[in-house]
């Protein structure tokens, strides 16, 4: 009860602290005047009387500090004081302050973007797909180090030659012109294999998805699945969207279903609106031979490991299968190997660049900190501070010197630097860690 009363009183004094300072000043003045008067009555000279009164009273500033520490909320008052100090410093150097603020804004913006990317790539590579991190990219790789994509017929072969993968799905990113001629709208979609939605384990918001048999024979099933957002914006979320016709690349496609709310396709970070059976490729893309030509590597493949299977097993099977295909179809597949990659290591998109950029920025941050730690410059002097002001001063120093090393230890710094020196994280390597105590 006593503590609560004291806290409430401190809170009240925090609000009225200026008035309280004035009160203490007045009380001290009155105290000294009374003591001086008594000293004068005792026969001391005015100067000596005042001096003796001061000596008897003790250090006025130290007492004021004690009084303030007792009175308000010292932590908050110190914080406000630091903020005021910061504002004054900024106002004295507006140019430098502007540069710092702009740098910080850019830094924070870039950091936010990077960490959103990291979150998406590492933890949610396929929004709305549960267990998305179990999916791996199945990437044919040329001798020159490029990733040319897979041909449709190659995909059909790989489906049966990689038993470590439960499912392999294929998709091709294509731009669509949706609408009647003269009123078309540019939209992006994917041409997908028949097992696309079932392998991802998705459930439609309404309607149904593309069936396996609808992506078996060329050009026979003019159906389309639309994204949730597309359904909301173009059909106002009406269930009557099902069965309606969409004019896509001068072909009529029937809307059969709507994808789940957050699903955006399988090519992170791109967002697609339409999904059409891959067998519609020639009809929609002006007779291209993507479905028959093994040199037309237009498809991206992803697969999910069977329970108990490892990425290394899948990699071995993929290598064997690609070697066999190179022997069987030397014109199209000679010199093409393959890699099984996690999404964060995708050769498409900025993933690799971002992860290496992150490593560089962390290494620079550590190096800057340790450089500044080697030549400390602070306006806060612990030795010169009065006893009552030592704690706020020490806490500031502790914040400056303690928090950063705790977050970014020398070991971390060196490990990051060595990772950076060795180049990009290897496909088989572990994801980047900030702290790795051993």
């Amino acid at each position: 009860m006593k503590s609560l009363r004291r806290f409430l009183s401190r809170l009240g004094h925090f609000v009225t602290r200026r008035r309280d300072d004035e009160r203490l000043r007045e009380e001290i003045a009155e105290h000294l005047a009374l003591q001086t008067a008594e000293n004068l009555r005792a026969g001391l000279s005015p100067v000596a009387a005042h001096r003796q009164a001061m000596l008897k009273f003790g250090g006025v500033e130290a007492i004021k500090q004690d009084y303030r520490a007792q009175r308000g909320l010292p932590l908050i008052e110190n914080l406000l004081g630091d903020l005021r100090n910061a504002a004054r410093t900024i106002s004295r150097m507006p140019g430098l302050a502007t540069v710092i603020i702009v740098s910080l804004s850019i830094g924070i913006g870039v950091n936010t973007t990077i960490f959103s990317w990291i979150q998406m790539i590492l933890f949610q590579p396929l929004p709305a797909v549960s267990g998305a991190s179990n999916f791996l990219m199945v990437e044919p790789r040329s001798e020159t180090g490029g990733y040319p994509g897979a041909a449709w017929l190659e995909y059909r072969d790989l489906q049966t030659r990689m038993p470590a993968l439960r499912e392999v799905v294929a998709s091709e990113m294509v731009p669509f012109n949706v609408g009647a001629p003269g009123q078309t709208e540019r939209t992006h979609g994917q041409l997908v294999s028949g097992n696309y939605f079932s392998a991802l384990g998705l459930k439609p918001a309404i309607g149904r998805f593309i069936q396996l048999e609808e992506a078996e024979r060329s050009g026979t099933e003019p159906v389309v699945v639309i994204s949730y957002d597309y359904w909301q914006t173009r059909f106002r979320g009406a269930p009557t969207a099902l069965g309606q016709t969409l004019r896509v690349n001068d072909r009529d496609l029937i809307v059969i279903g709507v994808a789940p709310r957050d699903f955006q396709g399988t090519m992170v970070p791109l967002k697609f609106e339409l999904w059409v059976p891959a067998t519609m490729t020639p009809a929609l893309l002006g007779g291209v031979r993507d479905l028959e030509d093994r040199t037309s590597r237009a498809f991206s493949l992803i697969g999910m490991l069977k329970p108990g299977a490892t990425r290394q097993e899948a990699q071995a099977e993929f290598t064997t299968a690609m070697a066999q295909l190179a022997r069987d179809y030397p014109d199209a597949s000679a010199g093409i190997g393959g890699e099984i990659l996690p999404f964060w290591d995708s050769p498409r998109g900025p993933q690799r660049l971002i992860i290496s950029g992150l490593a560089i920025s962390k290494a620079l941050c550590c190096s800057c900190f340790w450089r500044s730690a080697a030549t400390p410059q602070t306006s806060c002097s612990l030795v010169e501070a009065p006893a009552s002001a030592r704690w706020p001063c020490a806490s500031r120093l502790a914040l400056d010197a303690g928090a950063l090393p705790a977050w970014c230890s020398p070991k971390t710094c060196s490990s990051l630097c060595s990772e950076q020196a060795s180049g990009l994280p290897s496909p088989s390597g572990a994801p980047l860690h900030c702290a790795s105590p051993q």
Binding site: S9, R10, E27, E30, F57, G58, I63, Y67, A69
Partner: protein, 115 residues
């Protein structure tokens, strides 16, 4: 010359309460002078240290204060004991007497009492 004694933690507050109990409302200087007089100038206390103690007691509700006129007709803050303060004084006086009595017994004890 007599050696001055440091004030034990918390005893200054008790001295303040007792002073206000005996003398009624007093300003800071009056309380300080009274403590000096009663202790026979043996306490090594700067008078200024009284003010944080007064504030603490006021925050706890043991004393209250208001502005008044001092003997030289200047504005001064006068402190007075409150009802909870009086209760606190009684409780602390009892505790203190008990502690002093126990310590006194130790000092009075003779060699045969220790066997």
């Amino acid at each position: 010359m007599k050696q001055k004694t440091d004030v034990l933690q918390g005893t200054l507050a008790l001295m303040v309460l007792k002073t206000l109990d005996v003398l009624g409302p007093q300003h800071g200087y009056g309380i300080a002078r009274r403590i000096e007089q009663i202790s026979g100038d043996l306490l090594a206390v700067n008078q200024g240290t009284l003010y944080p103690v007064l504030l603490k007691l006021e925050q706890e509700g043991a004393i209250a204060s208001e502005w008044g006129a001092s003997e030289n007709n200047r504005r001064a803050r006068f402190y007075r004991l409150t009802r909870p303060g009086r209760k606190q004084l009684q409780a602390e006086t009892k505790d203190w007497e008990q502690t002093a009595a126990i310590i006194g017994r130790f000092f009075d004890a003779k060699a045969e009492d220790w066997s």
